[in-house]
Symmetry: C2
Subunit: 167 residues, 2 copies
DNA sequence: CAGGGAGTTCAAGAAAAAATGAACACGGCC
DNA sequence: GGCCGTGTTCATTTTTTCTTGAACTCCCTG
């Protein structure tokens, strides 16, 4: 286990950080970002860039980019601290809000680019290989639609209010 | 666009392959695996290892491992060809079956390892920092449960039979 | 408006992941 | 048994991705 020097270190805190490092990597998200979120998650008080650098012993660049990313998916919320010029944040703990952020910032754009790519193929293909790949293209279209439809559903499912769910 | 030499190459076919390369990378799956699935998907006839190597111009090792992976998630189905000793496959085109394969082979194990890690933290923590991180641990437990619950719904949602869905 | 704290950027180096290909099974078939 | 076709393994190389840190931009403050 990493030995994050300085500051209120603890076995449990570091284990929580390790937990998020794993989770992040399962999502294809860099280790450093998992560490950063884990640190915020494990810490009650709002933290600033400096705290992250100090407690995780990572570079300013990594910390800055990591915080930016986490903010972009709403995994960190700005917290104003009077008399301190630095930006402070606290971890967002609503799974749904984070999932929504991820969906909006990463998954949706990916789906959109896929859809574009598909449209380009279709335009290009109609002119040349008529009928040749129609089945395959139809299958992909079906998939795209389903992917689009499932997202709001996942979001709702992860929502805080546990409502009865019927499919 | 790659110029996959040999065999029935075509603009559209290669565009479909490119589509799957992108999709794969969005999932953190290696490019070569996206290519392989794309090739199978775009090809009606069953293909064997050799065909993959020849048409995609990739190494035997990559092709072998890629096919193994795709089989493990049920993205390729074995197809028997009389009089040919080589193993042939066709692409699975049911999104649900592939998703189920991915869930069972990759996501579930990941969740399980997370759950183990969490349990270890809890055991370790009870003895030492009583109450210190109880809120955080409770939050993680909630998340884990939701993640477990959402998977079967996603699977059902991607199912072929379009049934009315109510949340 | 000079100085300095806070945060960003990005080229270069370090680390991790994927691809390669040669060596190694395994199993028919002659 | 020896050979050949098929597929797997895994150490090495290549490619990609992540991290670092120094230079830079913005503002705020005196």
């Amino acid at each position: 286990m990493a030995n994050y020097s300085e500051a209120p270190s603890s076995e449990t805190r570091d284990a929580i950080i390790a937990y998020f490092v794993n989770a992040a990597q399962a999502f294809g998200i860099p280790k450093s970002i998992g560490e950063i979120y884990g640190l915020f998650f494990a810490t009650d008080a709002p933290l600033a860039l400096d705290d992250v650098i100090e407690q995780l012993q990572i570079s300013k660049g990594s910390a800055s980019q990591g915080i930016r990313f986490l903010r972009s998916i709403n995994a960190l919320n700005p917290t104003y601290i009077p008399g301190d010029r630095r930006d402070h944040f606290k971890a967002e703990t609503s799974l749904r809000r984070i999932a929504d952020g991820l969906i909006k910032e990463r998954i949706k754009p990916q789906l959109a680019s896929g859809a574009e790519q598909l449209k380009a193929i279709q335009n290009q293909t109609r002119k040349t290989e008529l009928g040749e790949y129609q089945d395959q293209l139809a299958t992909i279209r079906t998939w795209s639609k389903k992917a689009d439809l499932v997202l709001p559903f996942v979001s709702k499912f992860l929502g805080d209010k546990s409502k009865p769910t019927v499919i």
